[in-house]
């Protein structure tokens, strides 16, 4: 998959938009490094804390500006619809963590400038635990968590 040239374009895009006053231009290069390749190491981490560190190199603060939508009780741990939206501006990435899975990081999304900071996806959950959403905005991390009860584990899925 030759995404290199297009990746360069993203950065220019992000930089350009940043110039128009959405702020945080300085962070763009840092993002470049972070987003250029598949975060193998972050996906290998066991706990959500370690995975967040490996992925972003910083810690998150809870924010009510991050809206996490996940069911109270998952109909089946193999397919749990999880979505996040945020009112935060200058969002550059959104990530999902399932705290009790063998590896906490489930999915991480790069949100280029011009893309709406909202993602819906379906995740596997091994057992009842917290789903954590991290939104990176202006180079800072904001999080929201919700417990999802799992009666049929997703490890079979």
């Amino acid at each position: 998959m030759n995404t290199f040239p297009t990746r360069r374009l993203i950065l220019q895009g992000a930089g350009a938009v940043a110039l128009f006053g959405l702020g945080s231009f300085p962070f763009a290069p840092a993002l470049a490094a972070a987003n250029d390749k598949y975060p193998e190491d972050a996906f290998k981490q066991k706990t959500d804390a370690d995975a967040i560190k490996a992925l972003y190199g910083k810690t998150a603060e809870a924010s009510d500006k991050v809206k996490l939508d996940a069911p109270e009780i998952a109909e089946n741990g193999a397919v749990v619809p999880v979505a996040v939206t945020t009112t935060l501006s200058d969002v550059t990435s959104i990530s999902f963590f399932v705290s009790e899975n063998p590896n906490a990081l489930a999915a991480s999304y790069v949100i280029p400038a011009g893309t709406i900071p909202a993602v819906a996806n379906r995740l596997k959950m091994a057992k009842t635990c917290n789903v954590i959403a991290i939104v990176e905005s202006g180079g800072k991390l904001y999080s929201a968590a919700k417990e999802v009860k799992v009666t049929v584990g997703g490890c079979g899925g």
Partner: protein, 103 residues
């Protein structure tokens, strides 16, 4: 064989909403088969959406994304008839890509 990628991209004025469903086992490497042998991990690692050569969405996925993965997002711009290029690559280096017209 049909594409492994199903896409719906709908422009509603200033934004284009994109939904995609991909046919992939997303084996976690934690599941045993009927014979009790571990099914080796096999999952999509990266999924890219490009509009006019610009990446509008990039997913980094681990094995905890459900079988036949689904994702939904929206981006500013894009017009009816525009092409959206979607491609994925998995941990075995297999990949697939398709182009969808924005409706």
């Amino acid at each position: 064989m049909a594409s492994t990628i199903r896409v719906r991209a709908i422009n509603n004025g200033d934004t284009t909403e994109v939904q995609a469903l991909i046919q992939h086992p997303m084996d976690s490497g934690f599941v045993k088969d009927a014979k009790g042998e571990i099914i080796p991990p096999h999952f999509i690692q990266q999924l890219t959406f490009e509009h006019n050569g610009k990446t509008v969405f990039l997913a980094d996925w681990g094995p905890a994304v459900s079988k036949d993965p689904y994702v939904k997002f929206a981006f500013k711009g894009g017009a009816k008839g525009d092409e959206l290029k979607i491609s994925w690559v998995d941990n075995k280096g297999t990949s697939d890509s398709t182009t969808a017209k924005i409706a």
